[in-house]
């Protein structure tokens, strides 16, 4: 369990993290969301004991990070922002160094190295100096380093930044595969990542906690939640006005260009539109190309929350 209490970090006059409190339990994959400069990385640096909080404290599995950083760091794996690593070392030498620091020795070390290398697919670059690697490989070296000792707590700062879609998918699968009894905290500004891997999301802006919930709970706060996306097969007169006249419809927006005949139908508060819309379309004999119910959009909520906050 990670407990963050009243965490505050001030740099001169600038407050990067402002009175942040939350708990994370084993089995949770927590996504930190927020615009750039929201305090995500700063919070992670304090959790992992790289910087001292100005106020408040962090405990990891009941170990106070400020008082006993080494003990806390033993149970944590951390991928810092940008995945820093010693560029002049080869991947193999670097991972050996990490394994030694993590107290792995002899046969256990070799076994663990082999398994980690396989997990993040580093076989092809083992003897290359890290500074010659592509961004994707460098990031994976950082991940390998973080999971070397199979830590109880994993803190990953933008783990998929700079990866191509296949590699992103792979890293997400890796995180999902890990998560069972572990605590995972990842920061990202890719919202689909939150829906893809996180069991819980925190939205942070200007160092403050704005929202805390499961990704689908957050999605439900979106104005697109339970809206209907409708694409008509043919042109009809006054399509938008006619659609707006359906019972329980609050508003109709053009979802794309008019030639696409795609509309977003927003329900009145708490109404389920789909049956009514289907009946109406049937009555009118309008041909439908595509119709689906929107779950809600995280980026809506994200923008709504963070904009309102910065105004």
């Amino acid at each position: 369990m990670i407990r963050v209490q009243n965490l505050t970090k001030r740099f001169d006059l600038f407050t990067a993290v402002n009175n942040l409190s939350f708990d994370v339990s084993p089995g949770e994959v927590l996504g930190f969301l927020g615009p750039n400069g929201a305090g995500k990385s700063t919070t992670m640096k304090m959790i992992t004991g790289f910087i001292e909080p100005s106020q408040g404290h962090v405990s990891v599995c009941d170990i106070n990070v400020s008082q006993n950083p080494q003990a806390a760091q033993e149970i944590m794996g951390y991928l810092p922002e940008g995945a820093p690593a010693y560029g002049e070392m080869t991947v193999m030498a670097f991972l050996h160094f990490i394994a030694k620091v993590r107290g792995l020795n002899g046969e256990e070390r070799e076994k663990r190295l082999a398994s980690v290398i396989k997990q993040v697919e580093l076989e092809s670059v083992l003897n290359k100096p890290i500074e010659t690697l592509s961004k994707g490989f460098a990031r994976r070296v950082g991940l390998a380093q973080a999971i070397m000792h199979d830590p109880k707590v994993l803190v990953l700062d933008e783990p998929t930044d700079g990866l191509d879609p296949n590699q992103k998918h792979q890293v997400r699968e890796l995180i999902k595969g890990l998560a069972k009894d572990k605590i995972v905290i990842i920061s990202t500004h890719i919202l689909e990542e939150v829906s893809a891997v996180c069991s819980r999301a925190l939205i942070i802006s200007e160092g403050k906690l704005l929202l805390d919930g499961k990704p689908d709970e957050l999605e439900r706060q979106s104005r697109h939640h339970n809206a209907i996306c409708l694409q008509l097969a043919n042109e009809y007169d006054d399509m938008q006005q006619q659609l707006a006249s359906i019972t329980d419809i609050e508003s109709v927006e053009l979802a794309a260009k008019i030639e696409d005949r795609t509309f977003m139908l927003f329900p009145k508060e708490g109404q389920m539109l789909l049956p009514e819309v289907v009946r109406w379309l049937d009555d009118k004999q309008w041909a439908v190309e595509n119709i689906h119910l929107e779950k809600g959009r995280l980026d809506d909520v994200f923008r709504q929350v963070t904009r309102a906050h910065s105004l």
Binding site: F11, T48, F50, Y78, P80, P84, A85, Y86, I98, V101
Partner: protein, 247 residues
């Protein structure tokens, strides 16, 4: 924070590895050997002196170290801060003290290696005459201890800056101050001060201390002085690390 030999060794090995990852280390050692030879033979008049000792060789060590040791030490911390690897290093369960000592030991061993490779000087003097090997051994030990003091100062300067060149320059300046604090010109400018203070300033000088060592007098007080200098500056390195963490 507890001292852990194992962690210290791991950090030291990694640092040594990074010293020898590029040809710079070899060029550096070569330069050191050539210059120490040039200084002893041309400036120190090794032959003309006609003495079977290495004082001509050791006498120039403080001046050689003034530029060589800051160059070894500047890479201890500044690049870690520049490249961001310090965040990795400081979030691994190593402990600040172990990291500081491990890195310092790597630099000190590196300096030791350069010093050991000057052994042809000893062969030369042994071939030409019958030197007192005890005096020469004392000179080597003293010289290595002094190198450690320079490096510990460099370690502290390196942790204060992200820029290696800045770290180098500051180290040269601080080391220079410690070197010349014993020369009469400096002490004369403190003529107004009480004698105890003048003695204290003179006592801080690397030159004064090393002068005796170069002549083969390895006094326990001088050894203690150099060890204390190392301890002090390594402690200050850790203080600066902690300060960066809390800033």
């Amino acid at each position: 924070m507890t001292f852990n030999m194992n962690m210290t060794t791991i950090v030291m090995q990694r640092q040594l590895h990074s010293y020898f990852a590029t040809p710079i280390a070899y060029v550096f050692i070569l330069m050191f050997l050539v210059l120490s030879g040039v200084f002893s033979f041309y400036l120190g008049h090794f032959y003309e002196k006609g003495q079977a000792d290495l004082s001509a060789f050791f006498n120039f060590h403080p001046w050689l170290y003034l530029f060589f040791m800051p160059a070894i030490a500047m890479g201890l911390w500044a690049p870690e801060r520049q490249m961001g690897t310090i965040e990795l290093l400081m979030t691994l369960p190593i402990g600040q003290a172990n990291a500081v000592i491990g890195k310092f030991l790597a630099a000190w061993l590196f300096a030791g290696l350069a010093l050991v490779l000057t052994f042809p000087m000893w062969i030369t003097v042994s071939y030409l005459g019958a030197p007192d090997n005890g005096v020469i051994a004392a000179g080597y030990i003293g010289s290595w201890l002094m190198a450690g003091s320079f490096l510990a100062i460099g370690s502290c300067m390196s942790v204060c800056s992200k820029n290696q060149i800045v770290a180098f320059i500051f180290t040269v300046v601080v080391c220079f101050i410690f070197m010349v604090s014993g020369v009469p010109m400096v002490l004369d400018s403190f003529a107004w001060a009480p004698q105890s203070m003048i003695d204290f300033i003179a006592g801080l000088s690397f030159l004064t201390r090393f002068d005796a060592i170069a002549r083969g007098v390895l006094d326990l007080r001088d050894i203690t002085y150099f060890l204390a200098m190392m301890a002090l500056w390594l402690y200050l390195t850790q203080v600066m690390l902690q300060r960066n963490k809390a800033k």
